[in-house]
């Protein structure tokens, strides 16, 4: 029995309450054991513009935002104009019939559900946002769900305002009852389950994961799409005893972060590509000091200011090339929102154990999107490993302390400043084992080489502590789909669909980018007749990295750099194109809703469209 699923699209202008309507819906689903995945596509404006939130619901956890929209909630005329044409037969469109009407005929088989909002919510005259509540109530009804859970969401959202709770519950109830009387429910309803889901964004989970991993210091400068991490920390700072600061720029951010780490606190900072560019000099300092630090880059579409509210995976080169000189670093790219939760713990442990900076490459898709995560995944105690850290001194030390002692592992036991008998000065200049600078002598090739070798020796064992890529699907498949970071969920679903349609594929997703598990990757790819690299950028940054590290050249490339994330149908179609002989497929999101100049009434050119979901219809044949 395949699980039914529904994709709800909520659209309006910024300020119309798109996000809060979506949040109400997601929470109401999660409380009934129905999982969700959402992706918000928006403009860099505070009021106006177009904001388009897609929410995919199913009892089987969705791993991406899906291909299409089954239920449209249009909060303004613009949304109705843009997105009505995208609905599939069986689809449903809700709108405030007292305010606006469709400007063209809907696709065949689509149910137009105008809601007489002023009758259902008299307050909407003064409070236009009440139309959202009415529509959410109606949507819940046609998806086959009861009303009580939805009411409970209003009770918690407006816990301190009982009058507001009452008004919202009434409006939602009226929408719900109106839908029951006047509209057809979806063919296959959603079913509640007993699973407990928490609903959160990648930003939430990076922050909470870091806090649970012992992060005591967080510093940042506001930059989309990473800002919410700072807001999470700020709102929890007092309760959790975390020092949280907003400072003047990302240069200050990273230096302050490394300073706090240098003293022995676990410290983290986050930014996006532009801020990361400012941080890079100090990242080399952390490596030279052998001071741990965790630095997050939530990538957005570049270059330069780029497209600040759109997603991309194009800062890999920047992470590889951050700071001058040969220096030790780790680069991790979480592969899902849930993975954002565990990645900081891995990063902190590795940073502490190997005494180097760890860079986390997340992106807008993961960090501003939201996903339901099973509560048992979050309710874990991370086993914190701080490595060879000296935090006490009892006066019994015999030999002088060498902060940068040349050891077989390359790891030198690190004393936190403040202890007697362990005095040292760290230098960004090259230094000897005792920290004394080598840079100001005439020349000292032997000791210079010794210290470079010592630092680099740490990298020889570090791979064992980093997550290796896992192959999904049959090992002997003809084609391997190779992705990194945030594309895991969408490639996984595409691979499943391709397999179901008779195409022999498996899927390898890379999380650890530096160092690279080259042997493990080569072992998988060596068995594959066709390797296709899928990445959300223009130039194939990962393809180049893989070739540099392993010599492996992929047979085909699927890339996307139009600001929007991949959808499963894009990958299904592009994989077939590569199998058909095309080397590079540059995917473009061409649904009519994205482009006002697109001819209306069609579903775009994707062959895959017809075989995917309709409302309440199983995803796979």
């Amino acid at each position: 029995m395949l699980e039914p699923e529904v994709v709800v699209g909520v659209g309006g202008a910024a300020g119309d309450g798109t996000a809060s309507a979506g949040n109400t819906l997601v929470l109401s689903m999660a409380r009934q054991g129905i999982a969700g995945y959402s992706y918000n596509s928006y403009q860099s404006v505070i009021r106006g513009g177009h904001s388009w939130l897609r929410l995919r619901f199913s009892a089987k956890k969705p791993l991406n935002q899906g291909d299409q929209v089954d239920v449209l909630i249009a909060l303004n005329q613009d949304t109705l104009d843009r997105h009505l044409q995208e609905l599939q037969p069986g689809g449903v469109c809700f709108y405030n019939g007292a305010k606006f009407q469709p400007s063209y005929d809907p696709p065949a088989g689509v149910q137009l559900c105008g809601l007489p909002v002023p009758d259902l919510a008299p307050d909407s005259v003064k409070l236009p946002v009440m139309q959202n509540t009415v529509a959410v109530g109606a949507a819940v009804q046609i998806m086959g769900l009861g009303f009580e859970t939805l009411a409970s969401v209003f009770e918690t959202t407006f816990a301190k305002k009982p009058a507001v709770v009452q008004k919202n519950v009434e409006a939602a109830r009226n929408g719900y009852d109106y839908a029951a009387k006047n509209f057809q429910p979806l063919e296959t309803p959603l079913h509640p389950t007993d699973q407990k889901w928490a609903q959160s964004s990648g930003n939430d989970l990076l922050a909470m994961g870091a806090a649970l991993a012992g992060c005591k210091f967080y510093v940042a400068y506001p930059m989309s799409p990473a800002t919410h991490i700072l807001e999470w920390f700020a709102s929890h700072a007092k309760r959790l005893g975390i020092c949280v600061r907003q400072v003047e720029d990302e240069i200050s951010v990273v230096n302050m972060c490394i300073g706090a780490n240098h003293m022995g606190a676990r410290g983290m900072c986050a930014t996006s590509g532009g801020g990361f560019a400012l941080m890079t000099e100090a990242i080399g300092m952390a490596s030279m000091y052998e001071t741990p630090a965790v630095i997050i880059n939530v990538m957005r579409a570049g270059p330069s200011t780029g497209v600040p509210t759109k997603t991309e995976q194009a800062d890999l080169n920047q992470a590889l090339g951050a700071s001058q000189g040969d220096f030790e670093r780790v680069v991790l790219a979480p592969i899902s929102m849930g993975d954002c939760f565990v990645t900081p713990a891995v990063a902190f442990d590795v940073a502490d154990k190997y005494q180097l900076p760890v860079l986390i490459l997340a992106d807008l898709l993961l960090c501003e999107g939201s996903e339901t995560v099973a509560t048992e995944v979050l309710d874990v105690e991370f086993p914190i490993d701080r490595g060879e850290l000296i935090t006490t001194a009892d006066g019994s030390r015999q030999e002088p302390y060498l902060r940068y002692k040349d050891t077989p592992s390359g790891i030198s036991p690190r004393a936190i400043p403040g202890l007697p008998e362990h005095l040292y000065t760290s230098g960004t200049d090259e230094h000897d084992e005792d920290g004394v600078l080598l840079s100001d002598v005439f020349t000292d090739p032997i000791r210079r080489k010794k210290m470079v070798d010592k630092r680099h020796r740490k990298m020889s064992t570090i791979l064992h502590d980093l997550p290796a890529p896992i192959l999904e699907g049959p090992a002997d498949a003809e084609t391997t789909l190779l992705g990194w970071g945030s594309t895991w969920g969408v490639i996984k679903e595409a691979a499943e669909r391709l397999t179901a349609s008779g195409v022999s594929v498996n899927h390898l997703q890379v999380k650890t980018l530096v160092p690279l598990h080259g042997d493990e990757i080569a072992a998988v790819l060596g068995k594959s007749r066709r390797v296709i690299i899928i990445e959300n950028n223009h130039s194939g940054q990962f393809a180049r990295h893989l070739r540099a590290e392993t010599g492996i050249v992929a047979h085909g490339h699927i890339r996307k750099y139009d600001g929007e994330p991949f959808e499963p149908k894009h990958i299904v179609s592009a994989v077939n194109d590569v199998i058909g002989g095309q080397e590079i497929v540059n995917v473009l999101s061409t649904e009519p809703g994205w482009r006002t100049d697109h001819p209306t009434g069609t579903s775009g050119p994707w062959d895959g469209l017809q075989q995917v979901t309709r409302p309440g219809v199983p995803t796979k044949a």
Partner: protein, 296 residues
């Protein structure tokens, strides 16, 4: 932490590394005065963190026996702020030059004063870029000829005293490395000030600055301690800060009579006084469940 405090003398702060500054460099006076001040305040070497930037003067942490960090050009104040927030039980002193603090690091300098972190910042101001062999600095006098201003400096001269006052610095002082005893007193007062303290020190570069020599300063400086200067008056301090030729005041210009608590005592995570590095970093299961519940 556990070792008993011992009586500290100035010589205990002298490191085994001999300073590689040019003979006659003003920075020697800055350094020996710092040994004296730390000894007179009985600061234990392991409770002292000296943070510098890049430049001749920023080599200083290598020459003092304490914990130290020789950071990046212009970035010592953010780094030192991170150090102080992570362990406010340490005495944190920043040492750098005019190019480092007033040029590339100027934004951090202003923000650190506004932020009022309890760090004592000693700027060895030689009005020239020394380590790069003699280029114009933000504090170079207008008209001064250097390698990169061969026709004379066309730009204005930054006034760190007036800038510090305007930025809300609660302790603003200026010394001269040719008068180390006076400097020791300024350092001690600055370190004891519970908030950000700026001590700008005229520290002549004998190799590259032929204008602002020891003699140049001896001809012009006078001590505010010898005048009837009210160090609690912001306006009196600003008047003194604007003096330059022919007379230049040294000494304590301003100490806020009603100082705000420093950031490292105000941050909610630090109000107990327990340094961050010694606090428990494990979050208990009940709190964790509450955090998860926020998402439900």
């Amino acid at each position: 932490m556990t070792a008993p405090a011992t009586v500290v003398e100035a010589k205990n702060f002298k490191s085994e590394v001999h300073p590689d500054w040019c003979p006659g460099c003003g920075d020697f006076g800055v350094l020996t005065a710092l040994y004296q001040a730390c000894a007179q305040l009985q600061i234990q070497p392991h409770e002292l963190m000296v943070v510098s930037g890049i430049g001749c003067s920023s080599n200083l942490p290598g020459f003092i026996r304490s914990y130290g960090a020789h950071t990046l050009h212009g970035r010592l104040l953010p780094f030192a702020t991170g150090c102080k927030l992570a362990n406010q039980s340490m005495t944190v002193i920043g040492t750098g030059g005019d190019g480092d603090g007033y040029g590339i690091g100027l934004n951090h300098f202003i923000q650190a004063m506004r932020r009022n972190i309890n760090v004592t910042y000693i700027v060895m101001n030689n009005e020239i870029y020394g380590l790069t062999t003699g280029q114009v600095s933000p504090t170079s006098e207008t008209g001064m000829k250097t390698k990169t201003s061969p026709f004379g400096n066309l730009e204005g001269m930054l006034n760190p005293m007036a800038l510090a006052l305007a930025a809300g610095c609660g302790f603003v002082a200026r010394g001269f490395s040719g008068q180390p005893k006076h400097l020791v007193e300024l350092y001690k007062a600055g370190i004891q000030h519970k908030g950000f303290a700026l001590i700008d020190v005229f520290s002549p570069c004998v190799t590259f600055n032929k204008l602002n020599t020891y003699q140049y300063f001896r001809d012009r400086i006078y001590k505010l301690e010898d005048e009837e200067h009210d160090t609690s008056s912001f306006h009196a301090a600003m008047d003194r800060a604007l003096e330059w030729d022919p007379k230049i005041p040294i000494g304590l210009l301003y100490r806020n009579p009603d100082p705000q608590p420093s950031l490292d005592t105000l941050d909610p995570a630090l109000t107990t006084g327990e340094p961050l590095v010694h606090q428990n970093y494990m979050i208990d299961a009940e709190t964790r469940k509450d955090l998860i519940r926020e998402f439900m």
